[in-house]
């Protein structure tokens, strides 16, 4: 593979690498006929991200057609190539990426101003295929928003916050921080934000429900989308099924697939599969507050208290999800809940699938060692 990125696209590439670094420690590189795919996955296999850069993104793009090549390398090394993003735009005229299979090296050459050439030789390892199978267009709930909206939403939550719960009704979307059930309830600060459908470019809800996912990984995508200025699409179905967030442009496509919390245990009060009643959005009406807060009275939540997101029963999961869960690396957390691992699989994707999944893929992602992978 041999390609050249020019001008402002160097920064785009650098930002993509930076946002992939928020997901996992390794960058999976796969030059394909339809473009260069850069992917990353987190250690617990609950977050996956992929950027596909079409040949038109590059000023020159050549690959060894017919020869399927994949490699992975430490993402920190690649980030080191694009260090000081702020000056990248000003100094770097183009970036030449060349693959040397004999020496197992990927060479990044930055052509900078004043004739300066910075060459980075990064060694890589062969890798198994990394593909997540998902069909975002078939999702029940699809939204599209400018990145600023989501950035402004996420800013209200502390940077250390792990998980956020997103609830939708036909014209509203709520974000609130998710508190672990076994954490001390009296110590956690709860934050909730309500967005109206007007603020979105597209807002379509077929299934009113809530999903909980990791906020930290979303911030990676927001970083990219905001700096490049692309709207973000959000697709999801039910809790337990992954949420897909994507940015699309004529020459690139980025997808972040995040696992969502599924709760097999129906201990909570909202057992029904009905969506929770939306929290009252009439915050101007003070009379709703619980009036007396005496130390020894029992809790009677007023109408302003927030309902728990409904927990759908286990049978709502797709069967192959549960197969995958058994085989996947075990998640941290109490036994009565777990993130569904994303379904990485050898299913032949239908033609409507996005182009980041070449039909030739037949690999199953091994959870531990690479010995188990089957080569084509």
């Amino acid at each position: 593979m041999d390609c050249v990125v020019t001008g402002g696209n160097v920064k785009v590439l650098a930002k993509a690498v930076q946002s992939l670094s928020r997901i996992g420690d390794e960058l999976y590189v796969e030059p394909q006929e339809d473009g260069l795919a850069l992917r990353s996955v987190n250690s617990s296999r609950s977050a996956y991200a992929c950027f596909l850069f079409a040949p038109l993104f590059f000023s020159r793009y050549t690959t060894d057609s017919g020869h399927c090549f994949r490699c992975k390398m430490a993402i920190k090394s690649v980030q080191a190539v694009f260090r000081s993003l702020a000056t990248l735009e000003k100094n770097v005229e183009r970036c030449h990426v060349k693959l040397d299979e004999q020496k197992s090296r990927l060479t990044f050459t930055l052509h900078c101003k004043h004739g300066l050439l910075k060459t980075h030789n990064l060694s890589f390892q062969d890798s198994e295929s990394l593909q997540a199978v998902f069909d975002k267009d078939a999702s029940a709930n699809i939204f599209k928003a400018q990145p600023r909206l989501l950035v402004d939403t996420v800013v209200h939550f502390p940077p250390s916050l792990e998980e956020v719960t997103l609830t939708v009704s036909e014209d509203r979307m709520w974000f609130k921080n998710h508190v672990e059930e076994d954490a001390e309830p009296s110590k956690s600060m709860l934050t909730e934000l309500c967005l109206s459908s007007d603020e979105f470019d597209h807002f379509s809800v077929q299934s009113k429900n809530s999903i909980t996912f990791c906020l930290k990984e979303l911030r990676g995508l927001l970083l990219f989308a905001e700096s490049i200025g692309l709207p973000i699409s959000i697709h999801f179905d039910e809790p337990g099924c992954p949420v897909v967030l994507s940015v699309t442009d004529t020459v690139l496509e980025g997808n972040f697939v995040l696992a969502t919390l599924s709760d097999d245990n129906n201990l909570h009060k909202n057992n029904s599969s009905q969506p929770p009643p939306p929290p009252p959005d009439d915050f101007m009406n003070d009379d709703m507050d619980s009036y007396l807060i005496a130390m020894d009275t029992s809790v009677v939540p007023g109408p302003s208290s927030r309902p728990e997101p409904s927990r759908l029963a286990a049978e709502n999961h797709r069967t192959h999800d549960s197969d995958e869960e058994d085989g996947s690396e075990h998640m941290d957390g109490p036994p009565n809940k777990k993130f569904c691992s994303l379904f990485f699989g050898s299913v032949l994707p239908p033609p409507s699938q996005m182009s980041t999944q070449p039909i030739t893929t037949q690999e199953v992602l091994a959870s531990d060692s690479e010995d188990e992978t089957q080569l084509e």
């Binding site: 934050t191 109206s196 915050f283 007396l292």
Partner: protein, 278 residues
């Protein structure tokens, strides 16, 4: 018990946020006392704090457009809560462009101070953000621990040099020693001293001026220095938290015993007590 307050003015919100951020830098947990006219942030002297105590008084009328409270009973018309100021600060910081901000005492999963704000948006419906900050209600039997501290019987009272200057000095001194001696006299002179085996460093300030408290200090020899040896980190923590230059900043020294720092802004007063160490 009931409390509800509303801030509409952007400048008031900004100022309120800054006060709370300052408090959050001074202590992780603070007592908040609400009366019909005032809010107090209090840190009482405890071994756990290293003997440091704090008293911050805000006149509610300077911040809130609406302020309603009903205390525990008609006789004890106050509310006393324990709260983490950092959570309040974090909640307020991102709401600076709110159209209106409301704080109320609520009972969610536990007693909370609920901060809710309407943020302006391009659409017709405003964006509503709610933060529930958990608090602990302090029972009346403990209220005596949170009374206004008495003015100590000081030996010297002096105006402080600009806080930023002292902070720079103290930051650098901290690298050399864990203890600092603060001394001052009634002639407007103040010294900050550190002493180690290898080196001693003194920074001299003069012409600071002494506040006119009356004739309490007049018997004292003007040149005589009163001093107190302090844990330098406590002084540094106090100085780091200050974000705005106060209208008045002064220091009362009790020889070998206590440093009492008083910062006065237009609508906020902050008192900070640092005990001397041997």
């Amino acid at each position: 018990m009931k409390f509800r307050g509303k801030i509409i003015d952007v400048a008031c919100l900004n100022h309120f946020t800054r006060v709370i951020t300052t408090i959050s830098k001074l202590t992780k947990v603070s007592v908040l006392r609400l009366t019909p006219d005032n809010l107090f942030f209090i840190l009482s002297e405890k071994v756990a704090n290293g003997g440091v105590s704090m008293w911050c008084e805000l006149a509610q009328g300077n911040f809130f457009d609406e302020f309603q409270m009903e205390g525990v009973t008609a006789d004890d018309n106050e509310i006393c809560l324990e709260v983490a100021p950092e959570s309040l600060s974090r909640a307020l910081k991102t709401l600076q462009n709110a159209k209106a901000l409301k704080i109320k005492l609520t009972k969610k999963h536990c007693p909370c101070l609920t901060i809710s704000a309407d943020l302006p948006t391009l659409s017709s419906v405003s964006r509503v953000v709610t933060h529930d900050v958990p608090v602990d209600i302090i029972p009346r039997k403990l209220w005596h621990e949170f009374k206004e501290p008495h003015m100590p019987d000081f030996d010297v009272s002096i105006y402080l040099p600009p806080l930023k200057t002292i902070k720079n000095v103290v930051d650098r001194m901290k690298n050399l020693s864990n203890f600092l001696v603060l001394e001052a006299n009634m002639s407007g002179q103040m010294n900050l001293k550190i002493e180690t085996d290898l080196v001693s460093v003194t920074t001299h300030f003069k012409d600071l001026g002494n506040p006119p408290w009356g004739d309490e200090g007049s018997q004292r020899d003007c040149e005589a220095m009163a001093q107190a040896r302090l844990d330098i980190r406590k002084l540094q923590q106090f100085l780091t938290g200050q974000q705005v230059n106060p209208t008045k900043a002064l220091c009362n020294l009790v020889h070998h015993s206590l440093v009492h720092l008083i910062l006065l802004h237009e609508d906020v007063s902050l008192q900070y007590f640092i005990p001397a160490v041997a």
